[in-house]
């Protein structure tokens, strides 16, 4: 993961949702293929990256994970800055974590780029017998709000890869179809190991010419 690694894009994706829904384990499953039953609580911000290939492009996903406790929302504006994707996670066995999804969505739109790609993620499908949020409810909610939707299990590694891939793919689609404004594109933080000032062309990377 050296800084000289070649890639076309860096996409910043944030993980949000209530405390204990499994954000950190989704992150570690996707970036390191690890799962910890007793991972430490997240205090402040954690993050990790993984580089994936999407068609002919190399995309570096920079995934930020934050504390879910309400108290920490006071300090999250720096966290949302530049994010182009978000996974809004709830626990399918804890209805309360689903009920707070709307609040999180508002929080997200208050702080992030309006074009941000959002996926609603119902995590912990491995605990299917304790399910308290019906898939259809969440799916409907996602459709109504223009969100992608998937249910995952970080423990069993179900759909985790797909969830992130879909979000990254959708971000790429938006970026390349120029659905996003110029201003938002600069928020994508184009793949330079040394970020440049907005508008400063980056000759070495082919992707910049596409934009």
């Amino acid at each position: 993961m050296g800084s000289d690694e070649a890639y076309n894009f860096v996409f910043k994706v944030v993980l949000i949702g209530e405390s204990g829904v499994g954000k950190s384990n989704l992150l570690s499953r996707f970036t390191k293929n690890e799962f910890n039953h007793d991972s430490r609580t997240t205090i402040g911000v954690e993050f990790s990256t993984r580089t994936i290939q999407l068609k002919s492009l190399i995309i570096k996903a920079q995934i930020w994970d934050t504390a879910g406790l309400e108290r920490y929302r006071a300090i999250t504006s720096a966290y949302y800055r530049g994010a182009v994707g978000a996974l809004l996670v709830y626990d399918i066995t804890k209805h309360l974590t689903y009920e707070s999804v709307e609040r999180w969505l508002k929080e997200l739109y208050d702080h992030a780029d309006p074009h941000i790609v959002v996926m609603l993620v119902g995590n912990k499908t491995d605990l299917g017998s304790e399910r308290s949020v019906p898939t259809e409810d969440a799916k409907d909610f996602a459709e109504k709000n223009g969100l992608l939707f998937l249910e995952t299990s970080a423990l069993e590694s179900t759909n985790v890869e797909t969830a992130f891939q879909n979000v990254l793919g959708e971000i790429h689609r938006k970026v390349s179809s120029k659905e996003v404004t110029r201003g938002s594109i600069s928020a994508v933080s184009l793949s330079s190991p040394v970020p440049r000032a907005a508008g400063d062309p980056e000759e070495k990377k082919p992707c910049c010419r596409n934009l």
């Binding site: 007793d38 430490r40 205090i43 402040g44 911000v45 108290r71 006071a74 300090i75 040394v194 970020p195």
Partner: protein, 436 residues
């Protein structure tokens, strides 16, 4: 040092997997041996079974005769504690900087923080708090967090084990004690460190002192105190290490992105364990100044030279370095030496604090929690308690703790206290305590 061992099989299910966390079959658990067919692993001398804070035994143990000498000196201080603090505080400070003997650490921390006195003057209070039902909102979050504190420490590894039970008792008691504050996740590792050293009731009063006297407002709703300290910290960095300052500024890395966990957990999740203990020894004696200094030393070490900056050309690269400080890059003695010699005083922190409070008010409006003051370690606490109640706010440097007050209450307080305390109104409406 005595090494203890923990029998994996005796732990509750779910634990083994998390402790290994490295390989499905637990094969990567390092120096495990097989005894009676059960995997047994030695802890390090601090009780860690693994993880990033496991000590590989590279720490040098202090010579036995030196350790014995130090213990005797500390025991002597314990016998005349108030006198030592009021008359020979420099010596107390020096001894804390050298490291408190591990056998006496618990008592020393309780004396340094004055939590011992709270404990003694509130008999039965902890039990009373425990008996209360507690707010389910907080209890639910606390329960979720119990198995997520130092999962690699023998005391907290087992689900439902005595460590996790005590943690629950302490954290719950605090939410009952201060219902308006509730529970903040960073309090859990702090309480856990205390529990590694002392029983629950003692840990509770020590936690109270940390939350209310040393780091007031750090765990309160809105997290204003930690944000302010982030700004103070960044401003101090400009003086201490302009190179690191410029680098962080260039990549727009807000202090809040890397110092939140450092400060709120007093480095307990950041440094090798031997360093954590040395930092806490100094912190209890000298207060928040130590937290600032340790943070500054770390930034200096990681971003303080052209060579080092070359490796972290980018926001992500820089953040990654700050989030994962390689244990081998932090040597206990060097860290302490640098922390001790850094010219960041209480006065400087206080001055910077009033500047940042003013800036905050100019840019973001009034603080939700009114600034009062925090106490800078043992001597400050000692002097504070000897002062009569009505002179609670003394003419010292400006600072803040965060106690919610109604507007009416504030006005009343200012009116009553202004003439006595040497506090004066600033032009901008901000408050400043004039230096004595």
């Amino acid at each position: 040092m005595i090494k203890s061992s923990v029998n994996f099989a005796s732990m509750m299910s779910g634990t083994l997997e998390s402790l290994s966390g490295l390989g499905e079959d637990g094969s990567s658990i390092g120096s495990d041996s097989e005894i009676n067919g059960l995997a047994v692993r030695r802890t390090d001398k601090y009780g860690f079974l693994g993880g990033t804070q496991y000590s590989e035994g590279s720490d040098k143990d202090i010579r036995v005769d030196v350790a014995r000498q130090r213990e005797l000196k500390w025991l002597d201080m314990f016998n005349n504690w108030d006198k030592w603090v009021s008359r020979r505080f420099q010596k107390v400070k020096l001894r804390c900087r050298k490291g408190i003997p591990s056998s006496l650490r618990a008592k020393a921390w309780q004396l340094l923080s004055n939590s011992k006195e709270l404990l003694d003057s509130n008999p039965g209070k902890f039990e009373e708090l425990e008996r209360e039902q507690g707010d389910p909102k907080w209890l639910d979050i606390i329960e979720k967090d119990l198995h997520r504190q130092f999962p690699f420490h023998e005391m907290f590894a087992a689900r439902g084990g005595h460590g996790q039970q005590d943690l629950y008792r302490v954290l719950k008691a605090y939410t009952v004690y201060r219902p308006e504050e509730g529970y903040c996740q960073a309090q859990a590792p702090v309480a856990a460190v205390l529990l590694m050293h002392m029983p629950a009731e003692h840990a509770f009063w020590c936690l109270v002192q940390i939350c209310e006297t040393y780091l007031p407002g750090y765990y309160s709703a809105g997290l204003e105190a930690i944000q302010l300290d982030g700004e103070i910290f960044f401003s101090l960095l400009r003086r201490v290490c302009p190179m690191a300052y410029r680098h962080l500024k260039k990549f727009k890395i807000d202090p809040i992105l890397y110092m939140t966990e450092w400060f709120m957990c007093v480095f307990s999740r950041t440094l090798p364990w031997s360093c954590v203990l040395r930092v806490w020894d100094m912190f209890f004696c000298e207060g928040v100044k130590i937290v600032f200094r340790v943070g500054l030393v770390l930034l200096k070490q990681m971003l303080g030279s052209v060579d080092k900056l070359r490796e972290v050309q980018g926001m992500y690269e820089t953040m990654e370095r700050l989030r994962n400080i390689p244990p081998e890059s932090v040597r206990e003695d060097l860290l302490v030496q640098e922390v001790v010699s850094l010219a960041v005083t209480e006065a400087l922190i206080e001055r910077e604090c009033s500047i940042q409070v003013r800036k905050w008010r100019e840019s973001r409006g009034e603080l939700t929690h009114q600034p009062v003051r925090r106490l800078h370690g043992t001597r400050d606490i000692h002097e504070h308690k000897r002062r009569p109640q009505h002179q609670e706010i003394r003419p010292s440097f400006s600072c803040y703790s965060f106690r919610k007050k109604t507007v009416k209450e504030q006005k009343r307080t200012w009116k009553q206290k202004t003439p006595r305390s040497g506090m004066r109104e600033r032009k901008g409406g901000g408050l400043l305590y004039s230096a004595s």
